[in-house]
């Protein structure tokens, strides 16, 4: 695949050319931090960030998404019949997501694109989007991507990988979609691939934080589930949804109907396994009614159930958002290590 050099002087112009055929989004600073926003005409993505507050998962999995619609007007022929809503899946591009967010997309895809069922909302948005990653030359102390199956120059899930090289970007097309985007932007000046390799090695060396995951698969589910450390881990947790909403790999959702007058919509909303409501039965029985059970579910899902189910590593890309945003500093790194080294006989606290 092609590698090109984009002189920063040609950056705005290239994006402007893209804006003709793509709807563009990128990181924008608001309220003191960066998040993804749709870019207005002429607006440039702001690359002066470590990572965005929320991940880029919203592009394929918005926090609230209308799926179906209905009419309750009994004089209408189709009352009480669910209809698909018309959706716009025209070409769009996200410019400037971190490689960890892209890798997360590939993990989440396994949930939404299965042999039996395909979630059309997730997949149509995914197929319509070209993902342009921005390699991470300046990781945070909470980044542990390299030990979570990812890395600052990881390519999985991206269509283009950009690397900031001072007065220019090096852009590597990784897919056909990526090639098309580079052509549409008229970025064609050829670049030296070895520069990127060198920068990649430097960036990876900067990741100071790691987790150990090599033993997780070997552990018996029920041993880990009944491990003695869960109460201690869960004590501080206030059961808010911060970690799950910030996480690029958390995919759980709720389905809700909302009616206004005679018209209504059925929508998908992010949900969180931290909420007791998530699993509450109508009878009042709750299989995960205690805080410890919910905290355990989150980490067991990411670090054990997922590992066993798909054999693709952990359901975590090491972006560190949950660590940075948790109001009470629950740290997945230490929990992962605890799980990885747990032996059933061990009586640890």
């Amino acid at each position: 695949m092609k590698i090109v050099k984009i002189n920063k002087k040609n950056w705005a112009e290239g994006l402007d050319s893209l804006a003709g055929s793509y709807s563009l989004s990128g990181p924008v600073k608001e309220n003191g931090y960066h998040n993804f926003k749709k870019l207005n005409k002429g607006e440039l993505p702001d690359f002066d960030f470590l990572n965005t507050k929320l991940s880029s998962k919203s592009f394929v999995f918005p926090q609230s998404e209308v799926m179906l619609e209905y009419s309750l007007d009994e004089t209408a022929d189709d009352h009480h019949i669910m209809k698909e809503v018309k959706k716009d899946y025209s070409k769009r591009a996200v410019v400037g997501m971190r490689p960890c967010d892209a890798k997360a997309l590939m993990l989440v895809k396994m949930n939404f694109d299965t042999a039996d069922y395909q979630d059309p909302y997730w997949l149509n948005a995914f197929n319509a989007t070209t993902f342009v990653g921005l390699a991470c030359d300046n990781p945070e102390s909470t980044c542990f991507c390299t030990s979570a199956g990812c890395g600052p120059y990881h390519e999985d899930g991206l269509d283009v990988l950009l690397s900031d090289a001072g007065d220019h970007y090096i852009a590597k097309a990784l897919t056909q979609k990526g090639e098309e985007l580079l052509s549409a932007a008229k970025w064609q000046e050829s670049a030296d691939a070895s520069v990127m390799d060198k920068k990649k090695a430097e960036a990876e060396a900067q990741i100071a934080s790691t987790v150990k995951t090599d033993q997780l698969k070997k552990k018996a589910t029920l041993d880990l589930h009944s491990a003695s450390f869960w109460d201690d881990i869960a004590f501080a947790c206030i059961n808010c949804g911060t970690c799950t909403y910030a996480c690029p790999t958390c995919w759980c959702f709720d389905i809700q109907d909302e009616t206004k007058g005679n018209k209504g919509i059925r929508m998908k909303n992010w949900d969180t396994c931290m909420s007791p409501l998530f699993t509450l039965h109508t009878t009042g029985h709750n299989p995960r009614g205690d805080k410890t059970q919910r905290v355990r579910q989150r980490f067991m899902h990411k670090l054990k159930y997922f590992v066993d189910k798909y054999d693709k590593g952990i359901m975590c890309v090491g972006c560190g958002r949950c660590i940075r945003q948790c109001p009470v500093n629950i740290d997945i790194r230490s929990i992962c290590d605890k799980m990885n080294r747990y032996e059933p006989a061990e009586q640890s606290e």
Partner: protein, 280 residues
């Protein structure tokens, strides 16, 4: 791409009060669109999402049997938001049906085997579907002996009573009905289901499978009975319930360990369940 969230439109064709306390009603649905019934082809043991626009969806086991054509039936206990609404709906009302969902009782594995069915209370729905399926002239020869114990609080709380009393007269199924306490004009067993199962149940062996479906308390007392009767853990088949939304293994809430009750279940063997956290 098929949209698995889009329900088939159905019309309520009939509503029957299923128990004397009126807490259960059996809804018979017919598909509004030609071809949808074929697309909804199901096996006994599966469930579907009953989908009421503006109210929500509820996963319910399919009570009709694949051998019954032209309709699908669900017997629904009035409990939460959606089921309470459904209980107030009328014949002719239009709503949605999404499915069939989940796995089914292992009909391939059960061929040539004896089947012992233990049901309790209003969890008898998919068991009814299963028995109807096995008793069908086209299928009966595929199975060995069929034994059944079904317990309810009182005669009026027994689901599908007329049908069961008809079946009871047949000689190709061995039916034991029981109620918790004595009642007038009751000619069958009196006593809790698991106790009756212990007395009348066929012994467990390689060629005999038990399918148990009922409230948690019944399951709790039935499992030791089955063990005593000699059933191996991989010959005990159970059907689980958990809170669900999507029904297609995506929304994430119904898991027990790595298994999703909605997609990998709801039917599991005891052997499988013993490998998962008891989060149901």
């Amino acid at each position: 791409m098929n949209n698995p969230y889009l329900p088939y439109p159905v019309r309520i064709d009939d509503i029957e009060i299923a128990t004397e306390d009126k807490s259960l009603r059996t809804f018979k649905f017919v598909f509004l669109n030609e071809g949808d019934e074929e697309k909804f082809a199901y096996k006994a043991g599966q469930f579907a999402e009953l989908s009421i626009p503006g109210v929500g969806e509820i996963p319910i086991g399919i009570a009709s049997s694949p051998v019954e054509k032209g309709f699908v039936k669900f017997t629904v206990f009035k409990a939460g938001k959606v089921t309470s609404h459904l209980h107030n709906m009328k014949v002719g009302d239009v709503m949605g049906l999404r499915g069939p969902l989940g796995n089914w009782y292992p009909w391939d594995k059960l061929e040539g085997k004896n089947v012992f069915i233990i049901g309790g209370g209003f969890a008898f729905t998919t068991l009814r579907s299963s028995i109807k399926y096995m008793l069908d002239p086209a299928n009966r020869a595929k199975f060995g002996g069929i034994h059944m114990v079904y317990g309810a609080r009182s005669p009026g709380m027994i689901l599908y009573r007329d049908e069961l009393i008809e079946w009871e007269k047949r000689d190709d199924i061995n039916i034991h009905l029981t109620i918790d306490r004595e009642a007038p004009n009751w000619d069958y067993h009196v006593g809790l289901g698991p106790n009756i199962a212990e007395k009348v149940g066929p012994p467990g062996n390689d060629d005999t499978y038990a399918i148990a479906c009922g409230p948690p308390i019944m399951i709790k007392f039935t499992l030791p009975v089955l063990e005593k009767l000699g059933y191996a853990k991989d010959h005990i088949i159970l059907s689980l319930e958990n809170r669900m939304k999507c029904g297609i293994g995506m929304c994430g809430r119904c898991n027990i360990g790595r298994e999703l009750v909605c997609k990998d279940g709801p039917v599991f063997t005891l052997e499988e369940l013993n490998l998962t956290p008891k989060e149901y």
